[in-house]
Amino acid sequence: MPDAPPPITTHFDGPVAILGLNRPDKRNAQTPELLADLVAAAVALPESCRAVVLTGHGAVFCAGFDMRLVHDDPDALPRLLRGLSTAVRTFKRLPVPVVAAAHGAAVAGGCALLAAADVVVTNRHARLGYPVVRLGISPAVNAGALRRTITDGATRERALDPDLISGVEAARIGLAHHCLDQPHAVLPTAIGLAHHLASKPPHAVAATKRLMLRLDGLDSDGPFDLGLAASLALAGSPEQRDRVAALWSAGDSRR
């Protein structure tokens, strides 16, 4: 059997590291292993790296948690929630700027990664959001970071309304910062932006990122832990199990 492709790819373009979610046939759905590898890739970045681009291979950025896994294994959801929380903390705390390139859909756990980035590039056709209350899952795990990217009001709207929004709407509420006309322009634009950010004096950039974290109250684990605990408390609830089971019994092909 050939080796499975790595769930995360790392490429370097000069001082810019490009991390790619690499399960294109599964819409880059997150597994505990993918999230752990993502964190490992971020932690392993060399000193010479001055900016990071986070992207996804294939047509979508990331469809969120692998729901087949959540359905089949009762331990998967808690592990995914912990893994996502760790990934968001890790990217928030990187000393170099993080640019997310959401060329396609960024849903639920995938959209959570956008809130971990400093700059988000998307396109008008992309669909973004946190439709997880439909599945009896609380997006609380990401609320601590999201409310510092967009307002508390918009966080409430996006967390409670299970609808997806367009890239245009994402830019309007501040979830994305650049909304392009075409999906194929997203990654090159993000890499260009990352090079621009990489050209700045790194100590000033790192100090500014540290200060912003402190002002956001995200230098401590408190807000992350609170959200993670709220999501974990519902993992395995009858509501969650029934709704995830219904995804398959109804022959739902969304996942």
Partner: protein
């Protein structure tokens, strides 16, 4: 039972109507009492509902505090302001997701009710806003909610500028979630959103709202009590009383 506020529950969706159309749904002490009663009834006897839609009867959503009741009687004005503060807190802490259907003017305390809703929809040329400073009133009761909703920078601009804004501007400021072109488009948009919200997992939505309340300071009672006291002291001042009397005569 007072019919100043009506409650109807239909499966997962409850509907609260502010029902004083002859006074543009202005918040009198009696109306505030009726709204409190209906919300208590909702939490105590309709456990199956997990989405609440709030709208106004007639042409207005809510014209704000009943100015007639805050002129002359300082004690009554104080009770009105703390009653509004308590109402906004009660709405925020409901274990239901609250959708404001802003069917007409939402002014002052009325716009405060919109602000405290989890989501809100209005139409483009509606009139909304916080003209408190224009009347010599401090919008203290709504200020903490507006800061939580749109952020401190925008809240400062909105509250210090006073005046009114259109529904489209309310969307740009983040006071409402969605703005439809005309009043005729409102009901279908509200029904679509209410249906969508009702399809969410009730336990997941309750837990999410509760966490958001904890993160954004919505559980902080001290600031709201202080705000109501500040507002009451400004309303009771001779300058403000004179401004309000002149306004009522006009």
């Amino acid at each position: 039972m007072s019919n100043l506020a009506t409650l109807r529950v239909d499966g997962p969706i409850a509907r609260l109507v502010i029902n004083r159309p002859d006074a543009r749904n202005a918040l009198s002490i009696e109306l505030l009492g009726a709204l409190h009663d209906r919300l208590d009834e909702l939490t105590h006897t309709h456990a199956g509902a997990h989405v609440l839609v709030i709208s106004g009867a007639g042409k207005a959503f809510c014209a704000g505090m009943d100015l007639k009741q805050i002129v002359g009687d300082a004690a009554l004005a104080g009770r009105l302001l703390s009653g509004l503060g308590d109402l906004t807190t009660k709405i925020r802490r409901l274990p239901l997701t609250v959708l404001g259907a802003v069917n007409g003017p939402a002014i002052g305390g009325g716009c405060g009710i919109v602000t405290v809703c989890d989501l809100a929809i209005t139409f483009a040329d509606n009139k909304m806003g916080f003209p408190e400073v224009d009347l010599g009133i401090c919008p203290a009761v709504v200020a903490p909610w507006l800061v939580r909703k749109v952020g401190p920078g925008r809240a400062r601009q909105i509250l210090l500028t006073g005046g009114l804004m259109s529904g489209a501007e309310a969307l740009a400021h983040g006071i409402v979630t969605q703005c439809v072109p005309t009043l005729a488009d409102l009901e279908p948009a509200v029904e679509a959103m209410a249906t969508r919200l009702a399809a969410g997992g009730p336990a997941a939505m309750r837990a999410t709202k509760s966490l958001l309340n904890e993160l954004d300071g919505s559980m902080d009672d001290a600031i709201l009590r202080e705000a109501a006291a500040i507002s009451a002291s400004i309303v009771g001042s001779p300058e403000t009383q004179a401004t309000l009397k002149a306004r009522l005569k006009a």
